[in-house]
């Protein structure tokens, strides 16, 4: 019961973890390369979700200081870190996609199993 109430309270974190596992699963079981790249993005996105959720404070406002009155702002650090993380994920995706374009041109397929078959035949 304690487990359940903990999960309900922290369901943001739990969803992020589930997404992470879905990403891992897709990455490991699907042989299509495009799907692998999508799974990679799901994994990254889930971690970003977790990170940003850490920074949230109930009733907090976005950390853009306006005026001098006392307002509660959310934690700005995770947001800033994730901004970096997103760009990193984008560049990895771009590189992976260009690699797939190249692989498609040389092998004529984007399926890992078929590529293994082609290489086995050589």
């Amino acid at each position: 019961m304690e487990l359940l109430s903990g999960l309900i309270n922290n369901y943001y974190y739990f969803v992020a973890i589930i997404l992470f596992v879905i990403g891992t699963h897709t990455m490991l079981t699907h042989s299509n390369m495009i799907k692998k790249v999508i799974a990679m993005n799901i994994m990254d996105a889930s971690v970003f979700l977790l990170f940003v959720a850490i920074g949230y404070v109930h009733g907090g406002r976005p950390p853009i200081i306006a005026g001098n009155e006392e307002v509660l702002y959310v934690n700005p650090l995770p947001g800033a870190l994730i901004l970096t993380g997103i760009v990193v994920a984008v560049s990895v995706t771009a590189y992976a996609l260009s690699l797939i374009v190249k692989i498609h041109r040389t092998y004529g397929t984007v399926d890992c199993d078929e590529i293994c078959k082609i290489r086995g035949d050589e």
Binding site: P62, S98, V101
Partner: protein, 146 residues
């Protein structure tokens, strides 16, 4: 479609620049602004053709801007060392902070944001062109084969 693109593109570009230069005052910054600006160039290229897009920013300029953007960032950091701070220092290196909330404020942040904006915009266009151009040449050779 083309008319819309031609109509909208300058506004998107203007908005991108606005987001970049106001990065220290409002939500946004180099990354988002650069992405907006870059995608406007991609939009033009998609809706017309590659040459029209290339007219807006040529291949050579893009790669020049790209290296220049990061290099500018690095050199800003080195300038901080030169002025007596540590690497990438802002206040400690004596960059003028100005009055918070004004347009020209926050010292090195302002400079760095612009460099990032240039870098990201050129990156998006270069990525797009590199992947698309190869596809086109491959498609062209295939057609001649037939």
């Amino acid at each position: 479609m083309r008319i819309t693109a031609r109509l909208v593109a300058p506004f998107i570009q203007l908005y991108g620049i606005y987001v970049i230069v106001n990065g220290h005052l409002s939500p946004g910054g180099g990354f988002s602004g650069g992405a907006i600006f870059g995608s406007s160039l991609v939009l033009v290229a998609i809706s017309f053709n590659l040459e029209a897009g290339a007219k807006q920013i040529s291949h050579h300029t893009a790669s020049l801007l790209e290296s220049g953007g990061v290099l500018g960032f690095t050199l800003t950091g080195l300038a901080a060392v030169f002025f007596g701070g540590n690497y990438l220092a802002n206040r400690a290196a004596g960059f003028p902070l100005g009055q918070a909330g004004e347009f020209f404020s926050a010292g090195a942040i302002w400079i760095i944001t612009i460099f990032i904006g240039i870098k990201v915009a050129s990156t998006i266009t270069t990525l797009f062109y590199n992947i698309i151009e190869k596809e086109q040449t491959v498609g062209a050779t295939k057609r001649t084969d037939k």
